[in-house]
């Protein structure tokens, strides 16, 4: 009886294995090396503060990496690139630091929460700061300014409107 009970306790874990996690297993975050350059603007990624991004493509082995989550969106939202993208990853600022984000902190971009318009400086314009939880994003926005957005809220129009 005890055995079955413990199995029952495991059940939610099995159910928790949703699509996002399957993708997470399929796409491993790549380390950003000191010589890696931003796929969009060409800058050396690790020389700049702020959360970075990387994009896993359907047809290509090569994983484009970006100096900022902002430039990642600038690339990923272009109509010609949108369809080629399998999975996007961003640094979770809730679990790493702003100045030199750790590559162990890459999370699924689609399920992250974002703070836009914060006073914290990144590169290539206003930062698009990602968080694994809504609470962390809210807390960050309270301290550093900016508004809370979901993945779907981030559009080229939004990014273009900022100077």
């Amino acid at each position: 009886m005890k055995k079955y009970l413990s199995l029952l306790l495991l059940a939610p874990l099995l159910l928790g294995c949703n699509k996002g996690q399957v993708l997470e297993n399929q796409y491993k975050a790549e380390t950003i090396h000191e010589h890696d350059r931003c796929h969009l603007c060409g800058m050396v990624i690790t020389q700049h503060p702020g959360p970075k991004g990387q994009v896993h493509l359907k047809a290509e082995k090569m994983v484009p990496k970006f100096c900022s989550s902002r430039d990642m969106f600038n690339f990923a939202l272009q109509p010609e690139n949108k369809r080629q993208i399998a999975y996007m990853m961003v640094h979770d600022i809730a679990s790493t630091n702003w100045e030199q984000p750790d590559d162990g902190a890459f999370i699924d971009a689609a399920s992250a929460f974002y703070v836009y318009g914060t006073s914290k400086k990144a590169v290539m314009g206003s930062a698009v700061a990602p968080f694994s939880t809504k609470a962390a994003a809210e807390a960050f926005a309270k301290d550093n300014g900016g508004r809370l957005l979901t993945f779907e809220d981030i559009t080229l129009e939004l990014l273009a409107g900022d100077k």
Binding site: G42, E60, P64, P79, L159
Partner: protein, 424 residues
């Protein structure tokens, strides 16, 4: 008697106040002269190798005779300048350190080293050629700066690195084997003219600058010619870049600038692909607004003009877009008109007529048809590109010139390559 004494006193004052010329011939006498020298003195260095790290703390002039060489013995900066109005001329400088974090440089300009003149020196070393931060009006003229080609390009220092510097004047330098030829960050009112760049990352790299001007520079065999990033009001004209890999000119988050009469040719990326967006681009415009782009040539490259969404609000006219593999790449939804006051651009593939002889083609030119856009969106369909159906669709589209499709249009394509230079 009193009068005589006064005369002597006057002579004395005059003697002390007069600028002296000090000859030095070895490391010891140079070190001593740098300590003793007063403002206005001139140090003349005989042909010799002067070893170590030297510092200038007075407004003096340092002149090298042919063969005078500073050698930092591969550690630190060779010459550190901490005083204003210093002149350094005719020196060979070599073997400074390669620690970029410590700002190792051939010539290191410290805060307050205003109005220096660095002229006609030959610098060869690992870190930065000339590094300056927090100062005003340096003049850097006719130097030859070479990095170390054995170091990976991103680990090299920049030829000339200036940060928080106002009104620098950089002219007729020759820069090779460094990271960026001239790197300007948070700089205002720079003038960069007649420099030559080869075998390096970018010829000139602007970051957070304002009110700059660059002309008559040449870049060859580089990753990118000129990167204008996060900057404002740059007058960038009559520059040239050839044999670049990533881009000729990059306009990124750069606004209110004037890009005129430049040539970007042979920008080719051997491993690049249009699908990945990393092909060679004559000019790459994204997140850049209110720029005037006129009289330039973009030719013989993978892509002539690449505009990403967010680059729409720019004016392009009188440019020559010649024989690029892809003349224009723009996949946004907006309809863009690339002409100004009835004058468009010259397109090498334009086949229209000019029946009224005004030099402007009678029908608008669309560098891309809707099928180009389709193939950019669905690259896997590329194998259909030359199929009869696609050719038919292309022909049909050309016959009807639908007004509603998105993309770039030039309503006034120029018939002649030669363009009347009407200035700004």
């Amino acid at each position: 008697m009193l009068r005589l004494f006064f005369l002597c006193w006057l002579c004395g004052v005059a003697f002390i106040g007069r600028a002296q010329e000090l000859r030095v011939k070895d490391t010891a006498s140079l070190t001593q002269a740098l300590v003793q020298a007063q403002d206005g003195d001139t140090l003349v260095l005989d042909a010799a190798v002067y070893e170590g790290n030297f510092s200038v703390t007075r407004a003096i002039q340092i002149k090298g005779k042919a063969g005078a060489t500073l050698d930092a013995l591969r550690q630190g900066s060779a010459l550190t300048i901490a005083a204003p109005r210093v002149i350094v001329e005719g020196l060979n400088i070599r073997h400074w350190g390669g620690d970029l974090y410590d700002k190792d440089a051939g010539i290191l300009l410290l805060s307050g080293a205003d109005e220096v003149l660095i002229k006609g020196n030959r610098l060869v070393g690992d870190g930065f050629g000339i590094y300056g931060e927090q100062l005003a009006s340096p003049r850097i003229i006719e130097n030859s700066i070479s990095g170390n080609s054995a170091i990976y390009i991103l680990d090299r220092g920049d030829g000339i690195f200036l940060k928080h510097v106002t009104a620098p004047y950089v002219q007729q330098n020759h820069v090779t084997f460094v990271r960026d030829g001239v790197y300007l960050e948070s700089v205002t009112d720079s003038k960069v003219h007649y420099n030559q760049f080869a075998k390096l990352q970018y010829g000139i790299h602007y970051m957070y600058t304002r009110g700059d001007e660059a002309s008559q520079n040449q870049a060859t065999s580089v990753d990118g010619g000129y990167a204008l990033m996060s900057s404002k009001q740059i007058y960038f004209h009559h520059n040239r870049v050839d044999q670049a890999r990533d881009f000729g000119i990059l306009l990124n988050i750069t606004n209110d600038s004037h890009i005129q009469a430049n040539i970007a040719t042979q920008v080719l990326h051997p491993q690049g692909s249009v699908e990945l967006g990393n092909e060679g681009k004559g000019i790459f415009i994204y997140a850049a607004q209110n720029n005037r782009i006129q009289d330039n040539e973009f030719s013989q490259s993978d892509t002539g003009i690449s505009m990403a969404m967010g680059g729409e609000a720019n004016r392009l006219w009188h440019n020559r877009i010649l024989t690029n593999q892809t003349q224009v790449k723009y996949v946004g939804e907006a309809q863009l008109e690339w002409s100004y006051q009835g004058q468009g651009n010259y397109w090498s593939e334009y086949r229209g007529w000019d029946t009224n002889g005004d030099g402007v083609g009678d029908i608008a030119h669309r560098p891309n048809d809707s099928l180009d856009t389709l193939f950019w969106l669905y690259p896997e369909a590329k194998l259909l590109m030359s199929s009869p159906v696609v050719l038919l669709l292309r022909w049909v589209e050309r016959q009807f010139q639908p007004k509603s499709i998105s993309g770039v249009s030039d309503s006034y394509p120029l018939m002649q390559l030669a363009i009347k230079g009407d200035g700004i």
